[in-house]
Structure formats: C-alpha cells, structure tokens
C-alpha cells in the first residue's frame, strides 16, 4: 500500500510535468489549430536558459526562473512570427512538418551551444523530504504538483476574467469572426505562443530536479506530453492536465508493477485503446458541421 501511494505521488508529479507541456500544445491548438511539435523543445530551451541564468551566471533561483520565462516568451513570439504565421491556415500536415523542423533546429543548436551533456539546476527544493508517518515525499515532486495547480488556476483566471483571455477564446472559436469584431488576431496569436513558451519553460525548470536537462529531453518528454494532450482531448485545458496526470500515473505504475519494457509502452497502449473507444479523447468535444 505504501509503495502504491509512493508510486502514485511520483506518477502524479511526473504527470504534472507532462500536463504542463501538454497545456502548451492545447493553448496553441485552441487558438490557432496549429499543432506545435516543437513544444517539448521549447521546454528544453527554457530549461537551458534557466540553467544559464542560475547555474552559470549565478543568479538567484526565482530571478533566474523569471528571466528564463521572459526570454522564452519573447522566443515564442519570434518562432510564431518566423515559422508559423506565413503558413497559418494551410493544411495541418505542413504546419506539423514546419514545427518538427523547428524542433530539429532547436535541438541541434542547443547541442552545439551548450553541448550534449546532462545539466542540473540547483533549486530550493532539490533535497529535503516531507515525512507523513512512514510515507516519504520528496519536496521536488511536491513542488511540481503545487506549481501545476497554481499555474492552472492562473490560466483559468486569465482566460475567464481578462479581456485578453476572452479575445483569445473568441479567436479560437472563429478567427475570421473575431477579426471582424476588431480583435487583433495576429497579435493575439503571437501572445498565445508567448504564453505557451512561458508555460513550457516553467515545466522545464520545475522538471530539472526530477530529470536532468539535456538537449534531447524535449523530444523524450514532448512525445509523452503529446499523448497526454490527445488523451484529454486536444483543445481542452483541464483535459490536458488530467491526461498528463493519467499518463504519468500509468507510466509509473507500469514501471513498478509490470515487467520491464512495459513502462515506455503502457501509456501508448492506453492511448490507443482510448482513441479506439472515444476518437476525440476523454474531454474532447465533437463539433458537428451544420449543413
């Protein structure tokens, strides 16, 4: 039983990271119907920015965190402007390829600049554990869970209570109509990318105590976050987090209870089964075309 709870907590912590990356996928998809395959790589780049600020320049953790988030928000806008805006509205396949290309580029360039070693970011939660009875919970995992809850609450408030959030929801419903209503759709889209990159950076920095940062971490985690977004139903913000947590828990349970090898495949098998039964994901809405 104790093992089970232990595995559950670490699964949820890992799942929250997947959920945060998946959140980035979903934000961008909701606003622009673009699937950003480079989301994991944005996270990786954010992690490296944070590493540069904190590990190499010796800034305070929180300052470095904020700096990395700000830098990545700018980078997200830049990526949107250069890669995505010219092909907005073209078939999804082209956009998927463009973002795959962007991901390739980021991975290689990061590998060239920072090298291909593993890096570690020192965080205030790096060591120290919380003991409840005989249950041992590491602070770094709890910090991830707490941060996910805070970020989700912030995003919820942002989308439902601010003008900008409302504008984003409007342009995700119908871009042309939003444009006619006077919403600067292009600027909204670039802000969405900025937010997605910032959320990804937060995920990257929070992740640092759990796994090391290296140039391929984005690919590895992005490929786990992707099923998370799909499982939750692409385009649903709570779905992304729930999907992420599910994937994380499945992975950690399969790693503990099932023979070796199942750990990496179990999330995908579950995903395939879910897609078979519910092709638009768990929380997806199936919109019908009116004729």
């Amino acid at each position: 039983m104790l093992d089970f709870v232990q595995q559950l907590v670490s699964g949820i912590a890992l799942g929250c990271v997947y959920g945060l990356i998946a959140l980035g996928f979903v934000l961008i998809y909701k606003a622009t119907e673009v699937i950003n395959f480079a989301q994991g790589d944005l996270m990786m780049l954010g992690g490296f920015f944070a590493f540069t600020f904190i590990g190499m320049l010796g800034l305070n953790y929180w300052l470095g965190f904020a700096g990395a988030v700000a830098a990545m928000a700018l980078f997200g806008m830049l990526a949107e402007r250069v890669v995505v805006r010219p092909i907005l509205g073209y078939p999804q396949f082209s956009i998927i390829m463009a973002t795959i290309g962007l991901g390739y580029f980021l991975r290689s360039v990061v590998g060239m600049i920072w090298g291909t070693d593993d890096f570690k970011i020192e965080t205030p939660f790096s060591d120290g554990v919380l003991r409840i009875g005989s249950l041992v919970l590491a602070y770094d995992k709890l910090s991830v869970i707490a941060a996910t809850i805070i970020l989700c609450a912030l995003l919820y408030l942002f989308f439902n209570r601010t003008t900008l959030g409302t504008a984003m929801r409007a342009s995700s419903e119908n871009m042309l109509a939003a444009y006619y209503m006077g919403i600067p759709v292009k600027r909204v889209v670039s802000i969405v990318w900025a937010i997605a990159a910032a959320v990804a950076t937060a995920a990257g920095v929070l992740l640092a105590p759990i796994t090391f940062i290296h140039s391929n971490v984005g690919l590895v985690l992005g490929l786990k976050a992707f099923p998370a977004a799909v499982l939750g139903g692409f385009g649903s913000i709570p779905g992304a987090v729930v999907g992420g947590v599910l994937i994380g828990v499945i992975e950690s349970m399969a790693g503990f209870y099932l023979p070796q090898g199942w750990k990496d495949v179990a999330p995908y098998i579950v995903l395939l089964v879910v897609l078979l039964l519910k092709p638009e994901g768990l929380f997806g809405v199936h919109m019908r075309k009116k004729v």
Binding site: S94, I100, G101, L102, M175, L223, V265
Partner: protein
C-alpha cells in the same frame, strides 16, 4: 512547347502522355544501367540506399500523398519487413518466398493498423501511428526468441537462385532498382485504376467521396495495406543492405525521415518520392564535403580579399569547428524542412515544374502562375 490534345479518357490516363517521356526515361534508365560499372562503389552503395528510400517514399506517398492519411509509423513497417526476412532466412527459405512473405505480413499488419485508424483524423491519426511505431519498437526489443532483442540480428548474404549476391555488388543494386521501378510502375497503374481515383477522392474530400459512392473505410484500409506492403518489400532490401538489424534502427526518427523524403521531394507526385530519397541520402556526403572542403574554400576566399596567412588560418579553423560540430546535420535538416514548408510546399518536384514551365513559355512566364492563394483559416474541428 508541345500541345497535347486529349480527346478521350484513355488519353488522360496514358502511362506515357507523349513520346518525349519514353525518350527521357529511356536515357535515365540507360544511365542507371551503366552506373554500377562507372561509379565508385561508395556512390553505388548510396544509389542502393536511394532506391530503398524511394521505394518507402512511394509507399508512403500512396498513403499520405494520395489518400491524405498522415503516418509517422512507417519505420515500424520497414522493421517488420526486415525482421521477417531475417527470421525466415535462418530456415533457408529462398529469397523470392520470404520477399513476398514480408510484403504479405506487413500488408496484413498495415490493414490491421488501418482499421482503428478509420475513426481517427488529422492529429489523432498522427499520434496513433506514432504509438504504433513505439509499440512495434518495444516488441522487437522484447521478443527475444525471434528478434534477438537489443543485441540485434545478423542478416546473411542474399542468395538468389543459388547464386550469392553480395550487398555491395552491382547485382544487388539492380535488384533494388528493379524493385523500385516495379513499385513505381505498379503505383502508376494503381493510380490510374478506380482504386487510385478513390484514394485521391478521399484525400480531397471525404464527404464528397462518400456521397459519390466511394466506400471510404474500405479504401482507407486498402491504402494502409498497400502502403505497408511496399514498405515491407523495402524492408527486406534494407535488411540485406545493412546486413545487421536491431530495434534502435527503426525509431520515430526514421519515420520522420520518410516524411521528409515525401515532403521535400514533393508531396503529390511519385517523382517527388524519388527526388526526396536522393536528397535525403545525399545530405550525408554533402556534410562530409562541407567538413573537408568548406574551410579551405572560405580561407581561400579570405586570402584573395587580402587577409594575411594568420587570419586565414584562424578563419579556416573556426569554419572547420562549425562544420564538424555534432548537431550540424539536425540543424540543417530543421532549416531545410522549415524553408521548404514556407517557400516551396510542392517540394523539389514543384521547383522542377516551375523551371520547366519557365523554359516552355520562355518570354511569357509569369511568376504569379504558381502564386499561392491566401487561405483563411479553415477549422478542422468541425469537419
């Protein structure tokens, strides 16, 4: 320029619209036939890879280019073909038998993947095929009695009708070329047939195809099966060319490379599959060339512009350091993919068409001929 007057449907679906095609393809074939006797063995080996990748490209083109079903799991089909060959070969099964068996098995697996894929669209299909790729990769690593797990499997030299065919000899090259040509001709015929028309109809509009009486599910499964079978055939050749196969050769990376083949070649044409394969295979020798010669050339240019020998040496070493950096290949891939998507969505074949049209219409060519129309965002959510 030549005007083609088509007076009936038969004219429209001719394999060779006019005699020029026969002449130009004949010349190309003649060049390919003498290639192994003139080119260095390294280049012939690259040509074999071009043939294999192009075969996979044609297979993927049927599915993605002509039926509009994206797949990022084709490395798995290649793996199934390769492992079938490796496994059957241990029991001294002759080549033609296991070649056909590999195609059959991958075809059946492809159909099985096609069934769940029927309900999925766009992004959900992409992620389902990625999952399929991962699962196959893991099965290959775990099913040790058949695949030898992560140790990998040795593939014996190919023997065809009692004669040994070494993997770097001209005979093997001709075998691969033959498979490629058969695949292309077969695909061309498939596209002329009702089945191919149905594929294209599904790609262009599923709803319209269905209302025209096309059995969408049947043709989607067919498309998956045919595409997988062709990839399986290529897998057999791939196994023999590599002479050693292991699960980590058939990763998502390879599936993405196949997509690059059809994307950079030109997504709606069979020429594109071949051009893309040439491009993908040639990027490695090109990078080697960059590493060896580019520093010298740039230093030489600097010297002609009056740089002294010390600065020239510095430039030389700096350029050499950049050119031999580890991730350069990935970065170049990335940039090339993005540039093609942004500026040449029809790929290398599209570029070729533009050049051809320029000369055909010589003084009258208008750049606007190929101008892309502004597309307003069409939601795929309520399709």
């Amino acid at each position: 320029m030549r005007f083609l007057f088509k007076t009936d449907y038969e004219d429209d679906i001719k394999l060779f619209p006019h005699s020029g095609y026969i002449v130009s393809y004949g010349i190309l074939l003649a060049f390919l036939a003498i290639a192994p006797f003139v080119l260095s063995s390294y280049l012939v080996s690259q040509l074999v890879f071009v043939c294999i990748y192009a075969t996979v490209g044609v297979g993927l083109m049927i599915l993605t280019g002509f039926t509009g079903q994206a797949s990022l799991g084709h490395a798995a089909f290649l793996a199934i073909g390769a492992y079938t060959a490796g496994y059957l070969q241990q029991y001294n099964v002759p080549f033609p038998v296991y070649f056909l068996a590999a195609g059959l098995i991958t075809g059946v697996v492809g159909a099985l993947v096609g069934f769940p894929a029927l309900r999925l669209q766009g992004i959900y299909l992409v992620i389902a095929t990625i999952s399929f790729g991962f699962i196959v990769e893991e099965i290959l690593a775990r099913w040790e009695t058949v695949t030898h797990g992560n140790e990998g499997m040795r593939v014996k030299t190919l023997s065809l009708f009692g004669a040994v065919v070494p993997r770097d000899g001209p005979t093997f090259y001709f075998l691969c070329l033959g498979v490629l040509i058969l695949t292309i001709v077969g695909t061309l015929n498939l596209l002329r047939s009702p089945t191919g028309r149905a594929f294209v109809a599904i790609r262009d509009s599923e709803t319209a195809a269905r209302s025209m009486g096309v059995n969408v599910s049947l043709y989607k499964v067919k498309s998956f099966a045919i595409s997988a079978a062709i990839t399986g055939f290529a897998g057999v050749l791939f196994a023999h060319k590599m002479s050693f196969i292991s699960p980590e050769m058939f990763t998502l990376q390879l599936s993405i490379e196949f997509i690059i083949v059809i994307l950079i070649g030109g997504i709606f044409s069979l020429h594109g599959a071949v051009l893309g394969a040439i491009f993908l295979v040639m990027i490695d020798p090109f990078l080697t060339y960059l590493k060896d010669d580019l520093p010298v050339i740039i230093a030489g240019i600097a010297a002609t512009f009056g740089a002294d020998s010390i600065t020239a040496g510095k430039i030389h070493s700096n350029v050499a350091a950049i050119a031999s950096a580890n991730g350069l290949k990935g970065a170049i891939y990335g940039v090339i993919i993005v540039l093609f998507v942004l500026f040449e969505p029809l790929g290398l074949y599209g570029r070729w068409l533009k050049i051809k049209l320029f000369f055909q219409l010589f003084p009258l060519y208008k750049r606007a001929t190929f101008k892309r129309q502004k597309i307003y965002v069409k939601s795929e959510r309520n399709r």
